[in-house]
């Protein structure tokens, strides 16, 4: 009655683990690539956004 034996009967069960790892690696890789290569001016512009909205006297 070991649980894992039943799971092994699911056809292609290893797919679930593999998919998860692949998905993660892909998304993470793409994000990293984008984050590193993104345009410096745009990044700086967005970075300043919270400080760019003051209307009230401080």
């Amino acid at each position: 009655m070991k649980f894992i034996h039943y799971i092994e009967r699911v056809s292609g069960v290893s797919m679930y683990g593999l998919t998860s790892l692949l998905l993660f690696a892909t998304i993470f890789g793409v994000m990293l690539w984008y984050a590193v290569r993104a345009d410096k001016c745009v990044i700086e512009e967005i970075r300043q956004m919270p400080l760019d909205d003051d209307n009230l006297p401080q």
């Binding site: 070991k2 799971i7 009967r9 679930y16 998905l23 984008y34 590193v36 745009v42 919270p50 209307n55």
Partner: protein, 719 residues
């Protein structure tokens, strides 16, 4: 270019801020009450609503959904308008959102006190409230996305990504976990049973922490920290990686709440791997927050707002380091079911959520009322009382958790368990007292804040509509050759919504599908039968009184647990459990093998006065079960509902269920009579005894090969 003139809506922010202050005090008071009940059970005054089993869900719901929930909305409604350079999409939707949410909280508190609960942690609210939550959440979503569509700012700042991910994921989690079959107006059964229910519940439960207590607050951090420190976030690139890695990894980590349980091994391993990976984005976010203050630490010494934010971010770092550690199986074997978990979550709740909210309130209210804070000194006092409160709360509980676990696992030289369960409880009571002092200090700090902000409000002038101007957003220029797809997505809220949903839904689906799709995933045990009508009624009383908040029903395959409770739990034992009742904390002993362990009279006396059977017990007395009549009018509906969920009662059984119920009741009353106890007709206590005497017994009737641990290759683990 002509600039548009418009006004930010501060009134909705003010309402949510008032709600935060109000529910903070209510939620903390309920928590303090529950904490005291653990060493002084008589604090319930003999009333059902004030027992630990009902106060605890009131506390958790009030803190999570009322205090933090309103905190999210307060921060989002303030920051979103400014980051979009636009007023909220609709003032009316904002009002409906606000009052709808408060009504949900109020109804939630009343029903929980009344014992109306679906019995799933952090999702206790019954089906009509679940529907109301979904409706109000959608209204919030329309307002959120409507504002984004009308924005005057081309880019969407990272804080808003966190808000979008929060909205979409909470919607998904809430809907999937709340699928339940209504029986009456305030009673429903979870659609899922046993292992599946547990997996869905902790997929939800863990991600409620992730997407209700973490991602929206990270969004707030990315907005309010730069504001308060008056400098941009340390690294915007890091925040991009932080966001995507966090939402993607978090969604997988749920099964770490079910290590060593009857959950499939592969799902447990998946949960562990992703939990460990979570350290990276979490610490990336924490460092991004702390590095923002580089060169500004002199300001932190002066400014109470920054003090609160720094401790909040530090606590975030501590909790997100500890979380992955707790999900390691060898650490979890010690920590699970103990106060260690409670200490861990309170570093998050008191430190991260609490202090971040306080910091934002101290920053926000003087600005919206256009006046300096009434007293910076009082804010400093609040900071120190609160910080000492957190330490005094957490340290004793870490100690208690570790000590108790070690005591559970101690064997004498003769190979006998060294301590009775009760001894391990009475041993840590001083730690419980210290914890409640820590909690009381934290509450005192919050009261000081309420006073301070009240005074600030009194001397200021509220700016309901704050004037602003910004040029209208014109169509984006033709894409340049180096136009990255991410820039395309980060400018478009709807694409962002869809992409976030895909990312989180994929994680959820891959995790859940195998357990659902294949029947053989839950090995059935032929001797496990549906509950009798009386037992089913008793089980509902067990759920109503929140017994699962102190008693687990899950014997893990450890030497000490098998020696203490009996054979370890199998997945097939829970196939008729709607909802599952595995629990997550053992303030009392596990009950998975309680059936048949004691005579009926023991349970009768124990529920009437727990100390009569277990001297020193901290369980409250459940006197009302001896007076309340069992509602047999709903037996028919309950059996029908169970049949609809696939529980194999014979056709037409619902009609004769009450006959069987009366018969079983008569048998239990006869057995009680044998011990010189006479009880009235149709009392709730008899149904509860029937259920308790059934738990974990079916498996004992099974042939050896179906249940024996040795033959399935899964040996009982040593400590």
């Amino acid at each position: 270019m002509q600039a548009d003139k418009f006004y930010y809506d501060n009134r909705i922010v003010k309402w949510f801020a008032y709600a935060v202050l109000f529910w903070a005090i209510v939620g903390m008071l309920a928590g303090l009450w529950a904490a005291i009940a653990l060493y002084y059970p008589a604090i319930n005054l003999g009333l059902p609503p004030t027992t630990f089993g009902r106060m605890r869900p009131v506390h958790t719901n009030a803190v999570i959904f009322a205090f933090v929930g309103n905190g999210i909305f307060m921060g989002v409604y303030y920051s979103l308008q400014r980051l979009c350079k636009a007023r909220m999409f609709s003032d009316t939707l904002g009002k409906i959102h606000f009052w709808g949410w408060q009504l949900i909280i109020l109804t939630g508190a009343i029903t929980l006190w009344a014992g109306k609960t679906s019995g799933k942690e952090y999702a206790e609210l019954e089906w009509p409230i679940d529907i109301a939550i979904a409706v109000v959440w959608i209204i919030f979503g329309i307002n959120l996305f409507g504002t984004l569509v009308r924005r005057r700012e081309r880019h969407i700042y990272v804080a808003i990504w966190f808000y979008i991910a929060t909205w979409v994921t909470v919607a998904m989690l809430h809907i999937v976990n709340s699928v339940e079959l209504p029986v009456t107006m305030w009673k429903s059964y979870s659609w899922y049973a046993g292992v599946q229910d547990a997996l869905v519940q902790w997929w939800y439960g863990h991600n409620a922490v992730a997407f209700f207590l973490t991602t929206p607050y990270l969004g707030l951090m990315y907005y309010f920290l730069p504001k308060a420190a008056n400098r941009p976030i340390y690294s915007y690139r890091l925040s991009i990686i932080h966001f995507w890695a966090l939402i993607f990894i978090y969604i997988w980590a749920g099964p770490h709440h079910l290590l060593y349980t009857a959950l499939p091994d592969w799902a447990q391993s998946l949960g562990v791997v992703f939990s460990i990976m979570l350290i990276a984005p979490s610490w990336g976010g924490m460092l991004n927050g702390l590095f923002t203050l580089r060169g500004a630490w002199d300001k932190v010494r002066e400014e109470p707002v920054l003090k609160f934010l720094v401790v909040a971010i530090t606590c975030y770092g501590m909790a997100t380091f500890e979380g992955p550690m707790l999900s390691l199986k060898n650490v979890n074997a010690i920590s699970h079911f103990t106060d260690w978990t409670i200490a861990h979550v309170h570093i998050g709740a008191l430190g991260w959520n609490g202090f971040l909210t306080f910091g934002i309130l101290y920053w926000l209210i003087p600005r919206m009322w256009n006046t300096p804070l009434y007293s910076r000194k009082l804010a400093g006092t609040h900071f120190w009382i609160g910080t000492i409160g957190i330490v005094l709360y957490a340290v004793p509980l870490y100690w208690a958790g570790f000590t108790q676990s070690m005591m559970w696992k101690s064997f004498s030289d003769e190979g006998q368990l060294k301590f009775q369960f009760l001894e391990t409880v009475t041993h840590i009571l001083p730690m419980y007292i210290a914890r409640s002092i820590g909690g009381a200090l934290y509450l005192t700090g919050a009261l000081i804040m309420v006073y301070n902000l009240r005074k600030t409000i009194a001397k200021g002038n509220f700016i309901a509509n704050e004037a602003a101007e910004a040029p209208a957003l014109v169509a984006a220029p033709a894409p340049a050759s180096r136009q990255y797809w991410h820039r395309w997505i980060e400018r478009r809220p709807m694409q962002m919504l869809v992409f976030s949903l895909i990312v989180v839904a994929l994680g959820g689906l891959i995790e859940l599908i195998p357990t659902f799709l294949v029947k053989s995933n839950i090995p059935t045990i032929s001797s496990v039968k549906p509950y009798t009508p009386l037992e089913l009624q008793g089980r509902d009383i067990y759920v109503r009184e929140g017994c699962y908040l102190c008693h687990s029903q899950m014997v893990r395959p450890f030497r000490d647990e098998v020696a203490r409770y009996g054979e370890y739990s199998k997945a097939g034992e829970f196939v008729y459990d709607h909802p599952f009742q595995w629990g997550s904390k053992r303030t009392g002993p596990d009950l998975a093998r309680i059936g048949g362990k004691y005579p009926d009279s023991w349970h009768y006396n124990h529920m009437l006065d727990p100390t009569s059977m277990s001297p020193g017990s901290i369980m409250p007395s459940y006197v009302w079960l001896f007076d309340h009549e069992l509602d047999t009018a709903v037996t028919y509906k309950k059996i029908r509902a169970m049949q609809a969920l696939g529980v194999p009662y014979p056709d037409g059984y619902a009609g004769q269920a009450n006959k069987d119920l009366v018969e079983q009741e008569r048998a239990i009353k006869a057995s009680l009579k044998g011990d010189k106890i006479s009880t009235g007709q149709n009392k709730e206590i008899v149904a509860l005894i029937a259920y308790l005497q059934r738990i974990g017994k079916d498996i004992k009737a099974a042939p050896r090969e179906q249940t024996a641990g040795a033959q399935d290759g899964r040996a009982v683990l040593g400590n």
